[in-house]
Symmetry: C2
Subunit: 394 residues, 2 copies
């Protein structure tokens, strides 16, 4: 039995209750909004040093339980961690070799989890990336629709354009571009589950004459400049810093002169890409996005430029992603019983923390998201873009 | 007497005539639009290797003359250079130590040349930076006015805001922000001539209660976060790569939390900042902007981020600057006699080449210009910006 709190915890004023395996409770401050139930006695000694990775891992492994709203759990755990963990500890960048096999395995780990699970909390089109809230009061469905529209407008998409969608997910954007703009779309993914459902949806909507989807690695993209435009949403995070150059070169080879390329993805706070957040990066690497590596927007812009593109428009949508993830997290929390029937308990624990945690991380500014629009400028220096961005907002 | 062209020139098909000191003429192709008059026999041997720096320097030194419109002269000289000069020759970055003395001298060299000379070809407000053409059909005056407005909108400028204008030039933007938005403005420059005329104009408009202008180095800016917003137009090009970090830190120290910072400036094509253009960079360094160093937009974004800012919006205005410089060049060309009475012959030759040449360089994509908007995000991760950029286009 533990007679008292470890000294490190005694002087904290946090709305947090610790409940031990034997029923003993300690309040770290008045009116606790969150209870951490410590089920494994060995954990207590580690509580002098509660990184977000430590707390998250213990939760995933069932060594502790969290009571309270998941958003509040994340917030209070961050305060706990902030009080006791050196900001620079942990969160060293984990650089792994990325090749076709490791990338395929990493993508499968996350995206092949369960289509019905993702359907439970994503919007109807299953857009699994930052939505676009024009006023902040939209529904998730409206905001994902607006995201598709914003991307198509930035690409100045026109009927007959041949659009490459790199990392097409469940095909929501591909179908939108075909249906609303009359574009021909070639979409690629490394997730078999995504591909299966995405193809079904293309067929159900009668868009097979416009939308072709394939299981294909970006390194195998045709290099004959056949595409008029390229869109890549939530994909470059998986490429790895060392491969970003090849990735950008493959896009350059795939698109014609004058073609616009949109890279929309999560970006690091630090210019060298090292994670922020007292161990949260380690948790994400281990359980959520193995081999994920976030580039800073400057690093991504540099690689894009070095491949030969000209960067013409960059927009941060950081708080849009905080809001998007908050929608997803709340939907999942409202459907935990259904979710538990769809995925293993450990996966559910991981996704609960990850969705609420990343919403928090975007809101705090630990991570960012940038839409980076670039153009493969003609050899005479022209690019065919309008003088201003006003057309995006008509 | 030269009996025939050097072999290297014999097989070129260019609309170019060479006229020698003795009256002999050689056409490099049918219907020449440009004539280069070679006045110095020693130049001919160098014509096997006519970098833009060589041609420009010879023109500045009076060793050759150019006949034809200045824009066509630039174009044909580039084609000549392109045919005979290795693209990688010359144009090594010239990195010099930047301190307060060297910066003051470099700024004085360019900007203290002659106020009346600049008035001859700039717009009425003497905005000496890229204008903003909303449709491409505007006059220079309209487009410079639109540039002021675009910058103020991006900064979400409000009445009472305390705006720092770093590199305020002749004060056009400072007066616009005060007059149209009711902002208080503190503008700094290192050019005594600019300051003198800028202050006269503030006084003439009765804006002394709102606009204060000082001769001040950016390293001496107050570091107490007193400013609500910062605008820096055409200034970071003079800072030098090695000092960009200090420059960004000084802006960070000068602005309050939640404050927006606009860096609008010329950017390099290559990510390491090395110049493009067969010697044109050397010419600019020697005669036009001594100690100027263009950062790539990724380099600039990295330095801005490392100082603590969040990059929220980037826009390339490359073709706007090509058009702006074309306006300036045409105005100067139409007033060469007046100009000759204002500045030494050598300066006039330099500015003629520089204005037409930089218009060409922007049009070709050798250099770019980016407006990089960043924010000193609050510690809770908020930044107070609207959800979208739609307000810029109302």
């Amino acid at each position: 039995m533990l007679a008292q709190l470890p000294p490190a915890l005694q002087n904290l004023q946090l709305p947090l209750r610790l409940r031990l395996w034997d029923g003993h409770e300690f309040n770290l401050g008045p009116e606790p909004s969150v209870t951490i139930v410590v089920k494994d006695p060995q954990l207590v000694t580690q509580f002098t040093h509660p990184s977000l990775d430590l707390l998250g891992t213990a939760f995933v492994e069932g060594k502790l339980e969290m009571e309270g709203s998941i958003g509040e759990v994340i917030r209070v755990c961050d305060e706990l961690s902030q009080a006791l963990v050196d900001d620079d500890e942990g969160d060293q960048p984990i650089r792994t070799v990325h090749d076709k096999d490791t990338d395929a395995a990493a993508i499968s780990y996350h995206y092949d989890l369960s289509n019905e699970f993702y359907q439970l909390w994503l919007d109807q089109d299953m857009a699994y990336s930052c939505a676009y809230f024009q006023t902040g009061t939209e529904t998730l469905e409206q905001a994902q629709h607006a995201k598709f529209e914003h991307l198509c407008r930035k690409l100045r998409l026109q009927a007959g354009d041949y659009l490459l969608d790199v990392g097409c997910g469940w095909g929501g954007l591909a179908r939108y571009a075909a249906r609303e703009y009359g574009a021909r779309v070639f979409g690629i993914t490394l997730s078999k589950e995504q591909l299966k459902l995405a193809r079904e949806r293309v067929k159900a909507e009668g868009l097979e004459h416009l939308v072709e989807l394939q299981l294909l690695d970006y390194r195998d993209l045709p290099q004959d400049g056949r595409f008029d435009k390229v869109v890549s949403v939530g994909m470059f995070e998986h490429v790895g810093h060392a491969n970003l150059q090849v990735y950008c070169e493959k896009l350059f080879g795939a698109v014609r002169e004058g073609g616009l390329v949109m890279n929309h993805g999560i970006t690091a706070k630090h210019t060298d890409g090292r994670p922020v957040g007292r161990g949260a990066g380690d948790f994400i690497e281990r359980y959520v996005f193995p081999h994920g590596e976030l580039p800073h927007m400057a690093m991504m812009s540099a690689r894009i430029s070095e491949a030969g593109f000209e960067v013409v428009d960059v927009e941060s949508l950081r708080l849009h992603y905080a809001k998007t993830l908050d929608f997803w997290s709340k939907r999942l929390e409202a459907n935990l019983e259904k979710a538990a029937a769809m995925v293993p308990d450990q996966a559910l624990r991981i996704w609960r923390l990850y969705l609420a945690g990343c919403s928090y991380a975007f809101a705090q500014g630990w991570i960012n998201i940038h839409q980076i629009l670039s153009v493969k400028t003609y050899s005479d220096g022209s690019h065919g873009l309008p003088w201003t961005r006003e057309d995006l907002y008509r």
